[in-house]
């Protein structure tokens, strides 16, 4: 076996992805089921000159990451449901101040302390709507360890590209299950570094004046450009303002820089969609179950197909609409009361053909859960 093939947990695949992407700084607070990410990085980061700190809580963790990024480093934190809730305040700050950073939430069931040690996919809406105010957000997920690695690298790349916090949502099965991971060679996967300003010392630098392509060249703290960064609405100098025009334009900018690039941001995988009459839409570990069902039923002549989502936000409306255009039934499989199914209904014309197959009892969804309900949906009786 090649030395770059490993047998790891999903949480470790995330760690390897972050290190591959150039992670310099991790601040976190232990919480199940994300803790292995912190534990592994506590040992691995100092070996390469990076830094790890266990902060006093999740709020402080994300604040420290944001500041590290402002100082020019690539930062990440990892948490789970209730810890992610605590981070929402700082998440909004990173959005407003346009500071790249990556937040991994290995989901647990909630509300509140909920079920810490079993599977759920209940942070999808928290990722999108947890902060106050209007803005857009990028949120990625994965169903297997190779993809966990790839999406973690993507998260850093997108974060640096769009100067925005990027959220990685994994579920407990993906986080804790062990399977094969092939580590790519250095240089095999492209990495993105933030655009840094070319403005020289002594020349006026406008930290919040977007270029024509919408990107904001950054100047790291400690460099030659001294400017103000704030969570308040701010002008191109970073100075606080309540000027209605600036408030309106900045709100639009924070949304548009992601929504207008949705096509470039959206990642998904298609299985047997070409002639599918029953289109499944799923993500994370639930998508593994769906894939098994689809493959088995294809052998039996059922025209099943699947769209596996890897970008949850911005929601891939166009891809979903296209995949479902010819479908007799559209079946969303997820482990919550239906957080993605609402978006699917927004995406498709034939809303009355959208069904939800779900579990929200902290138990992994099994193939028979799907097969039984498909009989009903297909009018075959039970």
């Amino acid at each position: 076996m090649s030395s770059n093939v490993r047998f790891v947990q999903g949480n470790e695949a995330c760690v390897e992805g972050a290190l591959y992407a150039g992670l310099d700084f991790f601040a976190g607070y232990p919480i199940t089921p994300s803790t292995e990410i912190a534990e592994l990085l506590a040992g691995k980061l100092p070996k390469r000159g990076g830094k790890f700190i266990q902060m006093e809580d999740e709020i402080a963790s994300l604040c420290a990451i944001i500041a590290a990024s402002q100082a020019g480093k690539k930062g990440m934190t990892a948490t789970s449901g209730p810890g992610f809730s605590l981070m929402q305040e700082a998440l909004g700050y990173a959005v407003m101040a346009e500071i790249p950073c990556v937040i991994t939430s290995v989901m647990r069931g909630g509300p509140s302390t909920g079920v810490p040690t079993h599977v759920s996919q209940s942070d999808v809406n928290q990722a999108r709507w947890g902060t106050h105010g209007d803005h857009s957000i990028i949120c990625l997920t994965a169903s297997n360890h190779q993809d966990v690695f790839a999406m973690t690298v993507e998260a850093f790349n997108m974060s640096e590209t769009y100067r925005t916090p990027v959220i990685l949502l994994f579920d407990e099965i993906v986080g804790h299950m062990r399977e094969k991971l092939r580590l790519p060679e250095p240089g095999e996967v492209p990495l993105v570094e933030r655009l840094r300003t070319s403005v020289k010392e002594g020349v006026n630098y406008h930290p919040y004046l977007p270029r024509e392509d919408g990107r904001l060249p950054m100047s790291d703290f400690g460099g030659v450009h001294r400017y103000n960064v704030t969570g308040l609405f701010h002008d191109m100098w970073g100075f606080p303002t309540d000027n209605p025009k600036i408030v309106r334009e900045l709100t639009r900018h924070l949304t548009d820089k992601i929504e207008t690039n949705a096509e470039a941001i959206c990642r998904y995988k298609s299985f047997f969609l070409e002639d599918a009459k029953h289109v499944f839409i799923s993500y994370g570990s639930a998508a593994r179950t769906v894939r098994q069902v689809v493959e088995e039923r294809r052998l039996m002549g059922e025209k099943y197909g699947m769209l596996e989502l890897q970008t949850l936000w911005p929601f891939p409306y166009a891809a979903v609409r296209e995949a479902c255009a010819q479908a007799d039934s559209i079946v969303v499989v997820e482990m919550n009361l239906g957080q993605v199914v609402d978006q699917v209904k927004l995406a498709v014309d034939n809303k009355d053909r959208v069904f939800l197959i779900n579990r929200f009892d902290s138990v992994f969804i099994k193939p028979e859960n799907i097969i039984d309900l498909m009989r009903l949906i297909q009018g075959k009786g039970v």
Partner: protein, 267 residues
């Protein structure tokens, strides 16, 4: 360098009320920085939310105006990533010790080389005069129309107990002392805390009938005495000013660098 060169004139006029003590704190801070001959590019100021926190806008450093209470958490991230930068964190009393109380004690425990200024005006000024953890029992505030029953923190005692290696208190009346103490705090290696009594005539003074700004500052003169003075023995009611703690202890960033060296030696 002229003091004026440390200021962002573009940001002026400032938002502080007439008579507010925070301008005196800014003045003392700039004199301290000037006396140390510090380069602006080496300075980072991280503030939270409140009247005090707007001070970061007025200084021509790298400035991060963050979230209520969280300034020290942000500052920790900056300092760990760029230990060569001087990180100053001005906070209000509510900012530092209510919502930010947890971050405050943990930054002190770590002994990370950050200078924390607690601009204590005993009130939440920006949001209109609600009581803070330093208002003190029996005092009036908009959320304590009948007087608070809340006890207050003793900031130097709290900071020292939590592990801060430089702890001092001064007031806006003692302007020369203020600049000297801030300069000492900046040059100290480790977590430094300077509590600065700063008058809020608009909300605290008016509500508690303490008179105008001048009257409030004169009260600082009368009610305080240097640390260890004879006057304190004679009148225990007096509040001590000056440096309470100035000791050396392992600094967080340096200790972490040793961890990196150990990890790399092992690898």
């Amino acid at each position: 360098m002229a003091i004026k060169d440390y200021i962002r004139e573009r940001f002026l006029p400032h938002i502080w009320c007439p008579g507010c003590g925070h301008g005196i704190v800014l003045n003392g801070l700039l004199h301290a920085v000037d006396s140390l001959g510090m380069k602006k590019n080496d300075m980072v100021m991280v503030s939270g939310i409140g009247c005090s926190s707007r001070i970061s806008g007025y200084v021509d450093f790298h400035t991060l105006h963050t979230l209520h209470g969280r300034a020290l958490a942000f500052a920790t991230g900056i300092k760990l990533c760029r230990p060569e930068l001087n990180v100053i964190v001005p906070m209000g009393d509510g900012d530092a010790l209510a919502i930010g109380g947890n971050h405050f004690i943990h930054a002190a425990r770590r002994n990370i080389n950050i200078t924390a200024l607690v601009m204590n005006n005993r009130i939440y000024g920006m949001t209109g005069g609600q009581y803070s953890p330093l208002t003190g029992p029996g005092r009036l505030a908009t959320t304590a129309p009948l007087g608070t029953v809340d006890q207050m923190f003793d900031v130097p005692a709290l900071a020292a107990a939590a592990g801060a290696t430089f702890v001092a208190r001064t007031t806006t009346f003692h302007v020369k002392e203020l600049a000297k103490i801030i300069a000492k705090a900046i040059t100290h290696k480790g977590f430094s805390v300077v509590e600065i009594l700063s008058q809020c005539p608009t909300y605290y003074g008016r509500k508690n009938k303490e008179g105008d700004a001048v009257a409030m500052m004169l009260r600082y003169k009368e009610a305080t005495t240097p640390v260890g003075s004879k006057a304190k023995q004679e009148n225990p009611q007096l509040l001590e000013r000056g440096v309470f703690v100035d000791r050396q202890a392992p600094e967080y960033c340096e200790e972490y660098d040793k961890t990196i060296q150990r990890a790399q030696a092992r690898a």
